[in-house]
Symmetry: C2
Subunit: 178 residues, 2 copies
């Protein structure tokens, strides 16, 4: 039975994490995006114990991110394919890949997203499709929605207050001249 860690929360970030489940599940989703779909594919790629892999695949099917489709009746064997919900996870994976490439690959790039036209690396950017504007702290901010609960309002209010305190502190700290 899959644990939900953050069940009482209304936070969409926490709920996303709950639906993905364990870290290994992100690597399974990564492999599914690369095109892998069979138990042996995942097992060879990830090198984890078969019973753990079975449990992880079942979790992802239960969470609605993967679906099983039989490709063989005798013996019964399945492809594990991304659902529409699972495919919608792609931006999360791409931003994780980009962040990893930017900060944690001292020996160079091992995998990257490319424009098929010329195989050159994409410069990943998040924009607001309505305005065309790149997402920035100057232009965009997190706001509470109609379903926000008390905990969320407090989190955002406290955050705003704490940030304002730091800004005031920074601007009032005397500059010492040499």
């Amino acid at each position: 039975m899959k644990k939900t860690r953050f069940q009482s929360t209304r936070c969409p970030v926490a709920r996303s994490l709950d639906h993905v489940g364990e870290w290994w599940n992100i690597l399974i989703l990564r492999d599914a995006f690369y095109g892998l779909s069979r138990f042996d594919d995942f097992q060879k790629s990830l090198g984890i114990a078969p019973n753990m892999l079975t449990r992880r695949l079942n979790e992802l099917v239960e969470s609605g991110l993967l679906e099983r489709r039989a490709y063989s009746e005798k013996p019964l064997r399945h492809d594990y394919l991304l659902t529409e919900c699972g495919r919608d996870f792609r931006p999360v994976l791409l931003t994780l890949m980009d962040w990893g490439n930017r900060h944690f690959t001292p020996e160079g790039t091992s995998v990257f997203l490319a424009d098929k036209a010329d195989d050159s690396p994409v410069e990943l950017q998040l924009i607001d499709a309505r305005s065309g504007m790149p997402i920035s702290r100057e232009r965009h901010a997190v706001r509470p929605g109609p379903a926000a609960d008390e905990a969320l309002h407090q989190r955002l209010d406290n955050g705003r207050r704490r940030r304002a305190e730091r800004d005031i502190h920074q601007s009032s700290t005397p500059v010492t001249l040499p």
Copy 2:
């Protein structure tokens, strides 16, 4: 001592996951993006045991995502602030939030990213900043880079082959007329 689960891998996704650490750490980073910075802030927001929070904050400092800055000498108290590396995690959080809002919030939106100009919700989109094109499976694909190891090449090759098999199977499956 922080465990690195995926140490032998060159995959930037796996390395990103290793640097973030546990799931709780993503929620700490989320709170840091909301502006929270003090131990009590995080403790109140997340409701986790103080010793666990201490361990998580230390992990994030060790990983280079947060830094400590003292705001009080006696007693010694710190703000935990995002480093440049930590700030670069923002797109991952925003895509997680967006995916969560799209699929896991049946009671409505509790928090969303807004354009400050009119407080209306952003329509989040990933593009290639060089071409301006939205990221799509038709136009973009994952490619191995110069530092790719054998495991990565196999993963991508197997994925491509598996995908081609499924496409052939789909196009050759006879259509049964009623």
